[in-house]
Each structure stands twice: as C-alpha cells, then as structure tokens.
Subunit: 193 residues, 2 copies
C-alpha cells in the first residue's frame, strides 16, 4: 500500500524548525497532496510561473536552466527537501529554471495559494520559512566560496561529500555543469583514482 498522505518525514522536517500544533498539522494534511512522477518528467517549465512546491519523499530531481542551448544544472534535490523554482515560486514571477526528475519520484505537493493561506493564519509558518531558508542560504554561501577558490578536483571531492547520498546516481554531464567544469575534465578527474 502506497502512502498518500503527509508522512512523518514531512512533519519531522517542519519540527526541525517549529513545533507543530495539531491544528496546523490538520491544515497541512488537508492541503498537501501526494504525487508520483516517472523518471524524466518535467515538473516545472521556465515558461510558466511556479505555483507548486514539492517535498521529496524519495527520488531525485534536478533544477536546471538553458544556456547556449545546453542544460546547466543549478542543483540536485533528494529525499526530505523542498523543490521549486525559488524566485518564481516566492515572487510569483517568471524565472529561468526548469525542474525534472532523474529518478521515479514520490513527493508531497503544496500549492502557493495554500501556502499563502498558511502564512496568513499560522505565524509559525512564516518562522519556519524564515529559518529553513536560513539553512539553505548558508549552503549557498559555502558554495560560492567553493566556486571561487578550489581546483576542479577539489570541487568534485566537495560535491561527493555534500551530495554523498546521490553523487553516484547522477549522469556525469549534469554534475560537470553543476560544478562549472568541462565534462571531459570531470571524466579525467574521476579516472585518476
């Protein structure tokens, strides 16, 4: 029997940042919809405004954009993470990012309208968003530092550490564009050990 309602994982994720009242749990459960995707489905298209956010229960997604006709990975998202096109979802405007699945993926889907309702009626949801965004923000700071001052090999090693759960599940070309190095370079780096 497959799960079709918010699971412990999702509630636990919230509770890393805020306590969840039963009222809020119920409101969340009423609004969050289980959704299953096959491998290779496009979850969000850059030509539309992003209205949904997905919390991954299991599987793997990629956020990417097109540059000179090539797909450039912005980041990968796996179990227990929210995925959306950040600026598009938060500001309800167009942005450059596409999102697709790299594996069959089960997730919980929250509509922006429902999220706004929750923000308006549960101040702790605002706090949750603020705090969880702080966590992601910190990762971005680290990534910028890593981009500036490391060799290609160090970038790859760092990637393997921070993405230890998924680095072997992702095609090499997607990793190289994520790291901002040539695919051939990454192939050579991987060969030499």
């Amino acid at each position: 029997m497959s799960k079709t309602a918010p699971t412990d994982e999702l509630f636990l994720h919230f509770e890393k940042y805020i306590p969840l009242s039963n009222t809020l749990k119920k409101e969340l459960a009423d609004r969050i919809v289980f959704k299953s995707f096959k491998k290779g489905e496009i979850i969000h298209d850059a030509n539309t405004i992003c209205t949904k956010s997905y919390f991954i229960q299991n599987g793997l997604m990629r956020t990417y954009f097109i540059k000179d006709g090539k797909e450039i990975t912005e980041y990968f998202s796996a179990e227990n993470e929210w995925v959306n096109s950040p600026r598009s979802f938060m500001q309800q405007q167009l942005d450059i990012y596409y999102i697709d699945t790299l594996e069959p993926t089960d997730c919980f889907c929250l509509n922006v309208k429902d999220l706004v309702f929750l923000f308006d009626n549960f101040p702790e949801m605002e706090r949750y968003a603020r705090l969880s965004m702080g966590t992601v923000f910190g990762h971005y700071m680290d990534r910028i530092t890593s981009m500036r001052f490391t060799t290609a090999k160090e970038k790859y090693n760092h990637f393997c550490e921070t993405y230890s759960a998924i680095y072997h599940r992702v095609p090499l070309g997607m990793v190289s564009s994520y790291l901002g190095i040539a695919q051939e370079t990454l192939s050579r780096i991987r060969a030499e050990k």
Copy 2:
C-alpha cells in the same frame, strides 16, 4: 545636527515588504540605536558570536574571511542594507566572517535579543525577514551562475553593474578576492579600456 533615531530610509526599507503599524514603528524606534563608525573599524570579529545587525545609513562595509593568511572579501554592503555575519547572527553560533568599515559609516543597530522580541510579538516581522531574505537569496543564485560561467572580464563588468554605486570606492585587491580572480589579472582588465 546628526540623526540619532531611525530615519525614513529604514522604515521605507521595511515597507518594501510589509506595512508598518504605528505600534511596530514605536517598538522599532525604541530598540534601534544609532551608531557611527570611523573608517577601518572592525564591526564584527569571527571569534565572537554575532549579536548585532547594522542597517547602513551611509558609508560602506566589507564582510570578509581569512584564507591562507589573506583577507577574502565575501561581499560589500552599502546604503540601505543590513549587515551582519548571517549564519552567526541567525543561528547564534560561530562563523568565519569578519566585518569592517571601508569608509566612515553611520548606521542603525539592532540587537539579536530585540529582534527575537519583535519576531515573537509581531508576526509581520517574521514575514519581513522571510521576504527580504528571499531577495538576497536571488542575488546569491545569480552570483553562483556568474562565478561558474563567466570570464574574468565578464565578472568584473558584472560587478561594476551590480555594485555601480560603490565599485570605484573599493580598493582593487578587495574586489579581486570578491570575484575570485588574481589582483594582477584585474589590474590588467581595468587597464585595457
């Protein structure tokens, strides 16, 4: 006569994200302290936990860290921006960043305890923090893209555009470490026009 209370600029900054009630304005005014720094003062030291956030009225600050004995600029902050050591301030833990002034700087200072009070009593402050963080987050996404796929010259041009108000007020060495390129390279780029 110098200003010693929150000015319109600061309230206007808040009002870009949330409406300010008179009650909240008063609470803010009671907690925000005017502070003036000379050029070259260290505003925050990496060996301490960051407990203060500064809203710059005029002047210029630099957030940096030490790598192999050299100062690496994380970013510059100018008029109408909040400055603190983000992770240290938000999570009340140690982080690697120092902050100093590159010019005489006037700012408004808000203590983390007072901010927590405001968060606890004014849900709209949580919303403000969430939304304004979203703006900064977007800039970080752009910066990562810029780090990955641009030449040194493009990085510098992009810097001049996004930091148009301040790029000529900052020593070259601090810019080069911000961009992650050698100072000599930046000097040559600047020479060729």
